[in-house]
């Protein structure tokens, strides 16, 4: 068993780290302040193939495995987890279109998405349904031309900023054929362009972290959707959304890992420089033990994460459970490591200029979104008990 990255995987990781340090790190604080990520930067990332990482090269993508894509996200997140996660969400939507879309949809969107000329958002959560996503209220009524979308989606990364929204909604056509269709099987996925009539956005949300990416509610009031804009099969939207999340969870964990590694690196450096009671902090056993635990948590996270990504690439039957375990374990560990890194910095850790408090604020949401860590436990427990 070989746990080393191969040459190509190392090249992917190194590129992402280097590009992140050059193109993201110097701006991370100002983008956070402005609450937006410049389009010009995204186009630059697109030129490097970071916008359609797991999309088929024939369609303009980079043709990476999940494992390789997670390395890129981890590398970028060393500069800023908020920006890296935003790129990850866009990649998830591009993958969904590549995997489930017909040729017409692929032709219409993938080239622009893979070059980051267009930015895509994922719309599942609603004001009244988060963990219980299938209880959504947004509906797609059948019209002569196709569908009309009505409802609202909340906490949407890129809301009001993106060019394309993939919206999960209760499909009127499915419900017309059988009104008793179970909630999850009545959902289809629809591709909605920005600028559509009836589409509006809430005010930009004020958030604890992830401030660089614009987040807003997406409101639909009879937005007309052509029939061809339904993604894949009718009634399969919830399955697609969940499959998208398997990869999304890997990347959310990878982004947390990259940022936590930066926090640990900063803590090691600071502990070597800062002196108290006549010696540097890293000579105190209490600090050494802390650093040792942080390192151990990140190493365990890394190996577990890569295994789950590999399982997803293999389409292993337990891949979903592993993605859930990894999302829970890695995001919890990463938050703890970032928090301890802040603690080692003492009062300085609480100051913006040292970059620690941002990582702690950013990583907090990794424990909540793409399925809360409680829902992750639910998925793992179901898998475990079904097997028995």
């Amino acid at each position: 068993m070989d746990f080393e990255l191969n040459e190509q995987q190392q090249a992917v990781f190194d590129m992402a780290v280097g590009f992140g340090q050059d193109a993201i790190a110097p701006h991370a604080a100002s983008w956070e302040e402005e609450g937006t990520i410049p389009r010009a930067f995204l186009v630059q990332a697109g030129e490097l193939g970071l916008a359609g990482m797991v999309v088929d090269p024939e369609a303009g993508g980079s043709g990476l495995t999940r494992l390789e894509a997670s390395l890129a996200i981890e590398g970028l997140a060393m500069a800023c987890p908020s920006v890296s996660a935003f790129i990850s969400i866009h990649n998830m939507v591009a993958w969904m279109i590549d995997r489930f879309g017909d040729q017409a949809l692929k032709d219409r969107y993938l080239a622009d998405l893979c070059s980051f000329q267009k930015v895509a958002s994922y719309c599942l959560t609603e004001p009244g349904s988060g963990s219980d996503a299938a209880a959504m209220k947004t509906r797609a009524d059948v019209t002569n031309e196709g569908f009309a979308l009505s409802g609202s989606k909340s906490f949407i990364s890129g809301g009001g900023y993106s060019d394309l929204y993939v919206v999960m909604a209760r499909d009127g056509e499915v419900l017309a054929s059988n009104a008793d269709t179970p909630a999850a099987k009545a959902v289809s996925a629809f591709l909605m362009d920005d600028g559509s009539d009836g589409l509006s956005f809430g005010a930009p949300e004020k958030k604890m972290g992830w401030r660089a990416q614009p987040t807003a509610q997406v409101q639909m009031d009879g937005v007309k959707i052509a029939k061809g804009q339904r993604l894949g099969e009718a009634g399969r939207g919830f399955v697609y959304a969940m499959m998208g999340l398997d990869g999304g969870r890997i990347n959310i964990a990878a982004a947390a890992l990259g940022a936590a590694q930066t926090a640990l690196n900063k803590a090691v450096e600071y502990a070597g420089e800062r002196r108290a009671f006549g010696q540097s902090l890293d000579q105190f056993q209490s600090v050494q033990f802390k650093l040792a635990d942080m390192e151990t948590q990140l190493q365990a996270s890394r190996i577990f994460l890569r295994q789950a990504a590999w399982k997803l690439d293999q389409r292993a039957s337990d891949a979903t459970a592993h993605c859930a375990m990894v999302k829970r374990f890695v995001t919890d560990s990463a938050f703890e490591v970032a928090n301890q890194a802040l603690q080692i910095h003492g009062g300085y850790g609480y100051l913006e200029d040292y970059g620690l408090e941002k990582i702690v604020r950013d990583l907090r949401v990794h424990q909540i979104l793409e399925g809360t860590n409680e829902i992750m436990r639910l998925i793992v427990a179901r898998h475990l008990l079904d097997r028995g």
Partner: protein, 249 residues
């Protein structure tokens, strides 16, 4: 015109270099390695000239252990077309490298050879000059500007006093300096394509070169730790120290 770009696998510039405990050399075990940064600039220059239509094919060559192929692969991912790996384990000196490169130049017949001005491990700054002498070709060293023209190439060189422009004939050997360009990142699709690009293998013996070092390394040690400074009481004492101890005036 074909371009040959010479690249070396060195310790990554971010790594803190440590001397081996037996003082025979520098610790390379479990140390991150990368392409010599000046060689990245050389690869980038060749790619830019290819994009401008001045170069038709870029061949990246590296001499070193099996892992030197990773460094060649980095060049291929940036945009070079194919690689040549001269496999050799152990010490290599600039003259032996220059001789092997000469043999490759005679075989490949490039119109231009790019090298980094020096490698950041040995800092020798000798190979390109030796190669140019062995070939009898013009050299343009420490290039921070390269402009092809009807008569050959106009090279801007970084010299101690500023910049110097020289006109040289082609074919030529160029050694590139830091400010020539900013190397690109390899894009993900190009990283994926790089593994399908060919790397030919050869050996010093195939090239008719004896790579045995002519120098013997006696001992490699850390530079002495910087000693604490002293305070001087008067200008007279300072001048005395500068003259008698530091011997700078």
């Amino acid at each position: 015109m074909k371009a040959l770009v010479c690249v070396k696998r060195v310790i990554d510039y971010n790594v803190k270099v440590r001397v081996k405990s037996d003082e025979t050399g520098v610790e390379l075990n479990n140390v991150k390695m990368a392409m010599n940064p000046f060689d990245e600039i050389a690869v980038e220059q060749a790619i830019r000239m290819k994009e401008a239509g001045a170069v038709s094919e870029i061949v990246v060559v590296s001499i070193g252990p099996k892992q030197a192929q990773e460094t060649i692969r980095t060049g291929l991912a940036m945009g070079a077309d194919r690689g040549i790996h001269v496999e050799h384990d152990g010490e290599l000196e600039p003259l032996a490298i220059a001789k092997m490169l000469k043999a490759l130049v005679e075989k490949e017949e490039p119109g231009i050879v790019f090298c980094g001005k020096q490698a950041i491990d040995g800092d020798n700054n000798q190979t390109p000059q030796m190669l140019s002498a062995l070939l009898g070709w013009p050299q343009g060293t420490f290039a921070s500007g390269v402009e092809l023209n009807d008569a050959g190439a106009l090279i801007t060189r970084e010299v101690d006093g500023g910049l110097e422009d020289i006109q040289i004939n082609m074919p030529a050997v160029l050694s590139v300096d830091l400010r020539l360009n900013e190397p690109r990142y390899a894009s993900l699709p190009n990283i994926m394509k790089a593994k399908k690009k060919p790397i030919d293998g050869t050996t010093p013996a195939d090239l008719g070169v004896d790579p045995a070092p002519r120098l013997t390394t006696l001992k490699v040690t850390e530079p002495p730790a910087r000693a604490a400074g002293v305070k001087v009481a008067s200008v007279a004492e300072l001048v005395a120290k500068l003259r008698d101890e530091a011997k700078v005036i």
